[in-house]
């Protein structure tokens, strides 16, 4: 296992009797990386997460979390991973701080250390003033934040978040994503599953698309975009300069140019041609007003991918799982 790899799964499989919930999936998550698990309900995302935590048996395959095998050394794994389950629950009759105190005792933190960690974590999750409020009075967003506070308190090296943003209003979602970015800034790896594709796109470094227990696609959002949408790169440029379109068309890799407005051009290319395009404008002594590459939307990739014929999806899945 590479020193910068925190999770490595090889042919991970979970079957219930004859039904296969997770079918030979392989992926790696690097240190400080935000990795997204995407896919429809029942695609095997939560089962995969539970196998990583050692909370459910692994039917076949190898998994290595921070150098430990979750099936054999669950305590070492669980000491280093923070987990925010789908619809996280707390003891409603206890206060936020008491809930965290219970977890801290289970982890085994000493009492002095414990209080400091709890106060710090609650502050960072924006719940400092609610420390002594009973969790029964908390909104869903606050509960999710308390779940993140628990992970912060634990000082986890990996945070696994199952549907962290489902059922939250836009404001609460934004706050939550802010905390998730903080994890990354501190070198904590984040594995998250979500349905809110647009939001996932904004935080994830890499994503894995799940389909019927397999990872159909894996990679950065722009890689997936090219693979699924087949669009290549779309570069928008706004500049003036005589004969610019003709010069741009000569750049190797550019397949097509279209005029989208006065002085606005759109280049379709098989690679990122922004440096060459900028050089051309400069060479013509033109003024460059805008130069940008369109990121493919995860939503478009997702919809396009799952609209394909089922057998085609399966074939793709087999190819990528291999």
């Amino acid at each position: 296992m590479n020193a910068d790899t925190v999770i490595e799964a090889q042919g991970l499989t979970k079957s219930y009797g004859r039904k296969v919930a997770v079918d030979h999936i392989s992926f790696t998550v690097g240190r400080g990386e935000i990795f997204g698990l995407l896919g429809p309900n029942g695609a095997g995302k939560t089962t995969t997460i539970l196998m990583l935590l050692g909370l459910t048996d692994i039917s076949d395959g190898e998994v290595n979390v921070l150098g430990f095998n979750p099936a054999r050394e669950p305590l070492s794994v669980k000491r280093r991973i923070g987990y925010l389950p789908d619809t996280v629950g707390f003891y409603d009759q206890l206060t936020a701080a008491d809930n965290l105190r219970y977890t801290a005792r289970l982890i085994g933190f000493r009492s002095v250390d414990r209080e400091k960690r709890i106060a710090e974590a609650l502050d960072r999750a924006g719940l400092g003033e609610f420390a002594d409020h009973r969790v029964g009075t908390f909104s869903r967003g606050m509960r999710q934040r308390l779940g993140l506070a628990e992970i912060l308190m634990k000082g986890a090296q990996i945070a696994i978040l199952d549907e962290p943003t489902s059922g939250l209003d836009p404001h609460a979602t934004a706050e939550l994503l802010g905390i998730i970015r903080h994890f990354k800034a501190e070198g904590v790896s984040v594995l998250l599953s979500s349905h809110l594709l647009e939001r996932v796109q904004s935080v994830c470094d890499r994503v894995a698309l799940f389909s019927a227990g397999r990872i159909a696609l894996i990679g950065t959002v722009s890689e997936l975009g090219r693979e699924v949408l087949g669009a290549g790169y779309v570069v928008d440029i706004e500049a003036d300069g005589a004969g610019l379109p003709d010069r741009l068309a000569l750049i190797p890799g550019v397949s097509r140019i279209e005029q989208t407005g006065i002085g606005k051009l759109r280049l379709h290319a098989e690679r990122d041609v922004r440096p060459e395009a900028a050089a051309e404008v400069v060479a013509l002594h033109g003024r460059l007003k805008y130069l940008g590459v369109q990121e493919p939307s995860l939503e478009a990739i997702y919809t396009h991918y799952f609209e394909k014929k089922p057998d085609e999806t399966l074939k793709e899945g087999a190819r990528h799982a291999a």
């Binding site: 909370l55 629950g89 977890t103």
Partner: protein, 321 residues
């Protein structure tokens, strides 16, 4: 391959949390209040009775627990036999399934502990709650007894009452383990509560009667015994065997042996056993415990068996809701 670390990691933490939760729960406070009221009532009735027959009994103090002849229905143990299971079921029926329903289970199990610690901690926490409640009740009854009649109990009486206390805690353990088992088996707390209460009703009230009926079916009475007005030994033995499958019967027999020192056998007595015996003479405590020993072991074994079944099922259960 051995698993890493100890299965008891976090056991104490879970146990103390459960204990704190139970001791502050309204459910427990109400049940404890009812039991206290009953203790006052029954001890008062017993003391009235004792005052009338004061000279006769060397084990006066045990009467507060067992009640006297005429007032058997109003005795403390009659009520205790009813209420201890109720308290145990009240503490245990929602211990595991409520964690599922509150979505706390996967979060707690993602901490560095094994499931063993959670289940065992829950059992011990509830058992300790019951033990505290019963010790308080026991001291309360003894205190009331002192107040009402003003005669201090002898060493033998205290020893017997103490063994009785321990057995009562074991009896509570049986029903607690049963409630815990159903809280693992059923995801709905209402189902778990109703099934456990149903079994309690069955074993406490229906089975003792039913065992007689079943015994007669499988071992019809011999007309030779019937003609003499005697019970057929085979039928009695079978009836007793069946009745003893119920923890209530076992507890009842232990209580009789402990609180009535003149008890020489639990079940049919043969004439040979009575040879040389001074009828009505009390046995020493050791001998009384020995008489009830199989029943005591039966109660402990049932507790362990029920807990182990619940443990195995819980270990194999999926965490996700």
């Amino acid at each position: 391959m051995r698993r890493e670390g100890s299965a008891f990691n976090g056991l104490g933490v879970v146990m103390l949390k459960e204990l704190a939760d139970h001791l502050t729960s309204i459910r427990f406070i109400i049940l404890e209040f009812i039991v206290m009221l009953i203790a006052v009532g029954t001890v008062y009735v017993a003391s009235q009775d004792i005052k009338q027959n004061v000279a006769e009994d060397p084990f006066l103090f045990l009467r507060f627990f067992s009640g006297s002849g005429q007032q058997q229905l109003l005795s403390f143990i009659t009520w205790l036999t009813l209420l201890v299971p109720l308290m145990a079921i009240g503490l245990g029926f929602d211990s595991v399934n409520s964690e599922h329903n509150r979505h706390t289970l996967s979060r707690i199990l993602s901490q560095p502990i094994y499931r063993d610690a959670l289940l065992f901690g829950k059992f011990l926490g509830a058992l300790m709650t019951l033990a505290i409640a019963l010790v308080v009740l026991w001291l309360f009854v003894i205190g009331l007894g002192l107040l009402f009649i003003g005669i201090p109990p002898g060493g033998e009486e205290v020893a017997r009452a103490f063994v009785f206390l321990l057995v009562t805690i074991a009896y509570a353990g049986v029903w607690l383990a049963l409630a815990l088992l159903f809280s693992v088996l059923f995801r709905s707390t209402a189902t778990a509560a109703l099934v456990t209460l149903g079994l309690w009703l069955f074993f406490s009230f229906v089975w003792p009667t039913l065992s007689g009926v079943v015994a007669v079916i499988f071992f019809p009475p011999d007309p030779r015994y019937t003609a003499l007005g005697l019970e057929t030994p085979g039928t009695v033995v079978l009836q007793q065997f069946l009745a003893r499958l119920s923890p209530s019967t076992l507890f009842g027999e232990v209580v009789v042996a402990l609180l009535d020192p003149t008890t020489r056998a639990l079940g049919p007595i043969y004439l040979s056993q009575l040879q040389g015996a001074v009828l009505g003479a009390p046995l020493p405590l050791g001998a009384s415990v020995l008489i009830a020993w199989p029943q005591i072991v039966g109660l402990l074994a049932t507790t362990i068996l029920l807990f182990v079944i619940g443990y195995v099922v819980f270990q194999r259960q999926e965490v996700r809701a």
